[in-house]
C-alpha cells in the first residue's frame, strides 16, 4: 500500500512539474536547467540518513561519499544559478554589475 501511495505522489508531482516548467521563456532555459539541477541534489536527504544511520561501516562510507557529491550539486547548482540570474537585467535597470 505504501508503494501505491508513493506512486500517487510521483504521478501528481510529474504533472505539476510539467505545468510549472512549460511556461518558462527561452531566455531562462539555462538558469532553469541549473536551478532544477540543484533541486535534484535533494538526494542529499537520503545521503544524510545513510551516512548518519546506525548501519554497517560500508553503508556509512557510501552515505558519506553521497553527502559530498550531493553537496557539490546543491551548493554549486544554487550558487551558479544565482550568479547567472543576477546578470539578467531589463533595459531601464541600469547597466551596473557584470564585467565589461
Amino acid at each position: 500500500m505504501e508503494g501505491v501511495f508513493l506512486a500517487m505522489v510521483l504521478m501528481l508531482s510529474i504533472f505539476l512539474g510539467f505545468e510549472l516548467i512549460s511556461k518558462v521563456p527561452a531566455t531562462l532555459h539555462t538558469p532553469l536547467m541549473s536551478g532544477a539541477n540543484a533541486i535534484s541534489g535533494i538526494t542529499i536527504v537520503g545521503a544524510l540518513i545513510s551516512a548518519g544511520g546506525e548501519g554497517s561501516a560500508v553503508s556509512t562510507w557510501l552515505g558519506a561519499a553521497a553527502v559530498a557529491f550531493a553537496m557539490i550539486n546543491v551548493v554549486g547548482g544554487y550558487m551558479v544559478t544565482n550568479r547567472m540570474l543576477s546578470m539578467f537585467k531589463k533595459k531601464d535597470e541600469g547597466q551596473s554589475g557584470g564585467s565589461a
Binding site: 536547467m33 532544477a36 533541486i39 542529499i44 544511520g53 558519506a64 551558479v80
Partner: protein, 453 residues
C-alpha cells in the same frame, strides 16, 4: 522530532520548491525563485539532521564541508562560456550521489522486493547519469573529440547491454545481498550504458543531451526516494525529471527531429544536399561600418561561434553604439544556438545586454523584412535557408531564423568551412549577403573602432 513532524516539514519544503520553480519562470522573479528553492533545500537538510535516526555527525560534517567547498569554488570560478560543461558536471555529481544512496539502502534490513527494484533503479539511473555526464563534460570542454561516434553494431551492442542489465537485475532480486556478484555487474553495466548513450551524440546536438541528463538526475533522485521511502525526494526529483523532459522536447522540436533520431542516429548525413553554386561577396570592416551606420534596424544573430570567440562583450558595445546612432537593435536567438538550452541568452546577459532585447525565433521572423542589417555571428545551421527550401538537405524542415529576408545580411565567419552538420549554406551565396571573414571578436572590434574613430 517524530516522523510525523519531520514529514510535515518536508511538505513545507515541497511547497517552497514548487513556488521557487514557478517564480523561476519570469526574469523579474527568478532570483527570488531560486532563493526560495534553496531555502526549501536548507529546510529539508536541517530537518533530516534533527531526525533521531541520525547518530553519527562526524562523517556527515566532513563530507558536507568538502562538498560545499568544492561546489562553491567551482560555481564562483566558472566562466559563463563554460556553463554547459559545468552543468554537465553538476548533473553527474547528483547522479552518482543517487547511485550511492541506493547502494547504501541495500544495507537496510527488511527490504521488500519492491524496494529492491527501486534501489536497482536508482543505481542504474544514477550510474548512467554519472558516466553520461562525465562524457558530455569531456565533449563540451573539448578534452576529447566532440563529434558523434557512431559504429555499425552500436544498436546491437546497446541492446545486449540492456538485456544483460535486466537479466542481472532479475537475478539480483531473486537473491538480494550486498555482496551479490550481480550487484557489481549492474554497477558496471549502468556506467557503460551511460557512456554508450552519449557517445553517438555530438556537437550541435549537445543541448538535447544536457537536458536529458538533467532529467535523468531528477529521476535518479526520485528512484532513490522510493528506495528509502522518502516523499520529498520523490516530489523534488520528479519535478526535475519533468523539467528536463520539457527542455529536451523543446530542443528536439527546434531541430525538427525526434528524440529517438537525436539519441540513436548521430547526424543523418545520408542525404546529399543540393550543391550550392555561386560567388561569395566579401566585405571589409570599413564598408560594414558604412552600411551599419546608415541602418535603422539591426538584428544580431549569435551562434556557438560567438561563445568560442568570446565576442559577446564587443557585440554589446557595437549594439550600444548603434542605438546611440538611432537604430533599433535586437538579438535574435534560436532555441538551439550554442551547446545548451538558453546558452546565448546567458552569454549576452553576462555582457549586460538587457533581456528585453533578446527576441525568440517566432517573434523575430515575421519582422525580418523590416530589418536593415542582420549580423550573423558564428551561427550557421540555424540560419541556413536550405532548411526551408531544399528538400534534399539533411536539415530540411528545421525551423530557422530567416535572416535572408533582411535587407542586408552580414555573416561573420572564420573561413568558408561548413557548419557542424557539414551542410552547405546557400545563405553565403545570397544576393544580399556580405561575408566578413576573420575572427568574430576582432572583426566587430574593428567596426566599433570605426564608429568611435
Amino acid at each position: 522530532m517524530s516522523p510525523v513532524v519531520i514529514n510535515l516539514w518536508y511538505v513545507g519544503a515541497a511547497a517552497l520548491f514548487i513556488f521557487g520553480l514557478k517564480q523561476l519562470g519570469s526574469p523579474a522573479t527568478a532570483v527570488r525563485g531560486n532563493l526560495l528553492s534553496s531555502i526549501a533545500m536548507l529546510i529539508a537538510i536541517v530537518v533530516t539532521l534533527l531526525n533521531r535516526e541520525i547518530l553519527n555527525f562526524q562523517w556527515i560534517a566532513g563530507a558536507a564541508v568538502i562538498g560545499a567547498i568544492v561546489g562553491a569554488i567551482t560555481a564562483q570560478r566558472v566562466a559563463m562560456t563554460s556553463m554547459p560543461e559545468m552543468v554537465a558536471l553538476f548533473n553527474g555529481s547528483g547522479g552518482i550521489a543517487s547511485l550511492l544512496v541506493g547502494w547504501a539502502a541495500l544495507y537496510n534490513a527488511g527490504n521488500t522486493t519492491f524496494t529492491d527494484i527501486t534501489i536497482l533503479l536508482s543505481i542504474i539511473i544514477g550510474g548512467m547519469t554519472f558516466s553520461g555526464s562525465i562524457l558530455a563534460w569531456g565533449k563540451l570542454s573539448e578534452v576529447m573529440n566532440s563529434a558523434a561516434v557512431v559504429f555499425g553494431a552500436q544498436r546491437f551492442v546497446n541492446g545486449a547491454i540492456v538485456i544483460a542489465l535486466i537479466a542481472c537485475a532479475v537475478l539480483f532480486c531473486m537473491e538480494p545481498s550486498v555482496d551479490s556478484p550481480y550487484l557489481y555487474a549492474i554497477l558496471g553495466l549502468a556506467l557503460l550504458i551511460g557512456v554508450m548513450a552519449v557517445l553517438p551524440i555530438g556537437g550541435a546536438d549537445m543541448p538535447v543531451v544536457i537536458s536529458l541528463l538533467n532529467s535523468y538526475s531528477g529521476l535518479a533522485a526520485c528512484a532513490a526516494g522510493f528506495a528509502i521511502n522518502n516523499n520529498i525526494l520523490i516530489v523534488a526529483g520528479s519535478m526535475v525529471g519533468a523539467a528536463g523532459i520539457i527542455l529536451t522536447n523543446i530542443m528536439c522540436r527546434a531541430m525538427n527531429r525526434s528524440l529517438a533520431n537525436v539519441l540513436f542516429s548521430g547526424f543523418g548525413a545520408a542525404k546529399q544536399a543540393t550543391k550550392v553554386e555561386g560567388e561569395v561577396k566579401p566585405i571589409n570592416t570599413e564598408d560594414a561600418y558604412l552600411i551599419l551606420e546608415a541602418a535603422q534596424s539591426v538584428s544580431f544573430v549569435p551562434g556557438y561561434g560567438m561563445a568560442v570567440a568570446q565576442a559577446q562583450h564587443v557585440v554589446r558595445e557595437l549594439g550600444e553604439l548603434l542605438e546611440k546612432n538611432g537604430a533599433e537593435v535586437t538579438y535574435a536567438i534560436h532555441p538551439v544556438a550554442g551547446r545548451m538550452p538558453g546558452h546565448m541568452n546567458v552569454l549576452l546577459a553576462e555582457a549586460n545586454v538587457p533581456y528585453d532585447q533578446l527576441i525568440e525565433m517566432e517573434d523575430i521572423n515575421p519582422r525580418m523584412d523590416m530589418v536593415d542589417v542582420a549580423v550573423v555571428i558564428g551561427a550557421n545551421d540555424v540560419v541556413n535557408p536550405a532548411a526551408r527550401n531544399d528538400e534534399n538537405s539533411p536539415i530540411y524542415g528545421m525551423p530557422i531564423i530567416n535572416v535572408d529576408h533582411a535587407r542586408t545580411v552580414f555573416v561573420l565567419k572564420r573561413s568558408m568551412a561548413s557548419g557542424f552538420s557539414g551542410v552547405d549554406n546557400p545563405l553565403f551565396f545570397g544576393e544580399n549577403t556580405r561575408m566578413l571573414f576573420g575572427d568574430a571578436k576582432q572583426s566587430i572590434a574593428a567596426v566599433v573602432a570605426e564608429f568611435k574613430g
